[in-house]
């Protein structure tokens, strides 16, 4: 039964053609979540009644001959920092649990629902999105569907795990320092962090305004593109959301640019990585090298990556701490201790450091812009290693003991720091656990990113592993 709900566009087609009903799909989805989620802990709320009602409404429209959207009948779920009308937005915290319920859906949730998708629940995350593991002290750890003794990654761990497990074909997450790309890599699914300002964050609980992005997870690039297309468009409710154009990608997905120039990031992006993580990058690079479209693969460097990562680290602590200052003052003991201690430390950073962080950001943006004069796409590991075990604070990577919490975002942080669009794509045949690579494009070139990811998926080099029974 669960295998039937892993392909969003396939489901929507069956619903539109009358081969399946939205109500039966939602019923399958809900019973699967009820049966298997207690072992994985992806969901913090399941909206069974609302989902059944929405599915019935889709079926009624179809019976009446009324139009339905491109995602008609497709179940989806969202990280619990997105507002859902009638539900309190937790953002992974205990502190917000006493707040009133949201009075409207977040903009991207509204847009997916307008496309016919059916919201089935809210998903677990690191408290206030500050973490890479989804070991939440209030709501429990989300377990990796490919090995439940291991973390799902974070902070959008519930989102990645829900798609990986086959509960829903599409989920939404947010990415400030890697919180879409890290869990996507560790759970073996595709995750898209668009350009900063591409998708609206209105109605999502913030973390670091200057670094926050939202984006989708899916098991295929086609589904990822379909979700992304449905959510595009400027939004006056998010001042940062001002894309230069709407860019429907699904119809162009089979277009492959000839003569793509692929830059394999060296230096910082190969230091501290496991053999498997590097093998994943090399496997994808080799596939591009054999590309019939005559892709040219070259080794490149972004010398400012380490400083960019450090600046992202400082800015995150300081902006995040500032956002939560009042809550830290009034209810410090209700925070997850790990989150609280990091936020307090961030609050103590001198202002001069933040000035220098912003200066480093401008330098690094200029360096990346210059590099994209010579290449079309960049390639880097998504994480330094596969999923660590739950509770493990140190992992040995390439002979060195490495703190898990600080280092899972080693290669994602510099990229989100300058707002570039990036996909984490799951690479096949590199080890017993999922691993991902990042494809990175110039600002606003999600089209190139998704087209290249789709081409790689067609070759079989990247593919989401089958959900675990």
């Amino acid at each position: 039964m669960t295998r039937n709900i892993t392909d969003a566009l396939g489901l929507a087609e069956r619903v539109r053609e009358g081969l399946d009903s939205a109500e039966s799909i939602v019923a399958t989805c809900l019973s699967d979540i009820a049966a298997r989620d207690p072992a994985l802990n992806c969901f913090t709320a399941v909206l069974a009644d609302q989902a059944r009602a929405d599915a019935a409404a889709i079926d009624a429209r179809l019976r009446a001959g009324a139009p339905v959207g491109p995602l008609a009948g497709v179940p989806f779920a969202v990280k619990n920092l997105f507002d859902i009308e009638g539900l309190t937005t937790l953002a992974g915290s205990k502190i917000l649990a006493g707040r009133p319920a949201a009075t409207r859906d977040a903009s991207v949730v509204q847009r997916l629902r307008a496309a016919g998708a059916i919201l089935v629940g809210a998903l677990n995350m690191d408290e206030f999105a500050y973490g890479f593991s989804t070991e939440n002290s209030h709501y429990g750890a989300t377990r990796n569907p490919h090995d439940p003794t291991r973390i799902a990654g974070g902070s959008s761990g519930g989102s990645a795990a829900a798609v990986s497990a086959g509960f829903v074909p599409i989920a939404l997450g947010s990415d400030t320092n890697g919180s879409i790309r890290v869990p996507a890599a560790l759970c073996g699914v595709f995750g898209l962090k668009p350009t900063y300002g591409r998708l609206s964050r209105a109605g999502s609980f913030p973390f670091v305004d200057s670094l926050d992005h939202v984006g989708p997870f899916a098991r295929t690039v086609r589904d990822l593109a379909a979700a992304y297309d449905a959510m595009q468009g400027a939004d006056a409710d998010d001042p940062a959301c001002s894309p230069p154009d709407d860019q429907p990608i699904l119809p162009t997905l089979d277009t492959t640019e000839r003569g793509l120039r692929i830059g394999i990031l060296g230096g910082w992006f190969r230091q501290g990585a496991s053999e498997e993580a590097l093998a994943a990058v090399d496997r994808v690079a080799a596939a591009f090298g054999e590309h019939a479209g005559a892709a040219k693969v070259v080794n490149v460097d972004l010398a400012g990556a380490q400083a960019a990562r450090s600046a992202a680290f400082c800015l995150t602590g300081a902006e995040g701490g500032s956002l939560h200052r009042r809550r830290l003052s009034e209810r410090p003991l209700d925070f997850d201790p790990a989150t609280r201690d990091r936020l307090l430390a961030g609050l103590m950073l001198p202002a001069g450091v933040l000035v220098e962080c912003r200066r480093v950001r401008r330098q690094f943006q200029a360096e990346a812009r210059a590099l994209f004069e010579t290449v079309d796409l960049l390639l880097a590991p998504a994480t330094p290693c596969a999923a660590p075990r739950i509770g493990e604070s140190i992992v040995n990577i390439a002979g060195r003991d490495t703190p898990v919490r600080a280092n899972l975002g080693l290669y994602t942080q510099p990229i989100s720091f300058i707002g570039l669009p990036a996909i984490s794509a799951p690479v096949t045949e590199v080890g017993p656990l999922p691993l991902g690579v990042q494809l990175i494009a110039p600002a606003w070139r999600e089209d190139r990113l998704l087209q290249a990811a789709h081409w790689l998926e067609q070759t079989g080099v990247t593919r989401a592993p089958a959900p675990i029974a």
């Binding site: 400012g304 380490q306 400083a307 450090s310 600046a311 680290f313 400082c314 602590g317 200052r325 830290l328 003052s329 410090p332 003991l333 201790p337 790990a338 609280r340 201690d341 990091r342 307090l344 430390a345 961030g346 609050l347 103590m348 950073l349 001198p350 450091v353 220098e356 962080c357 200066r359 480093v360 401008r362 330098q363 600080a406």
Partner: protein
């Protein structure tokens, strides 16, 4: 930031935390904050060493 490495580091963290949020925090929290401050101090040092000379940047701003 340099103070966190000194002999009275925990007192400094406690004073800084109280100044910021005016609340008594348990010792375990202060130790956690101190550890995170040390991590941030390392990152701040990397940022500082990479940041371009501000006069150069100011000149670029005026040229623009």
């Amino acid at each position: 930031m340099n103070g966190v490495d000194g002999g009275d580091e925990l007192d400094e963290v406690r004073t800084a935390a109280w100044t910021l949020i005016d609340v008594a925090l348990p010792q375990a929290c202060l130790l956690g904050v101190r550890a995170n401050l040390q991590i941030l101090a390392g990152h701040a040092a990397v940022v500082r060493s990479a940041s371009v000379d501000e006069k150069t940047e100011a000149a670029e701003v005026f040229r623009a």
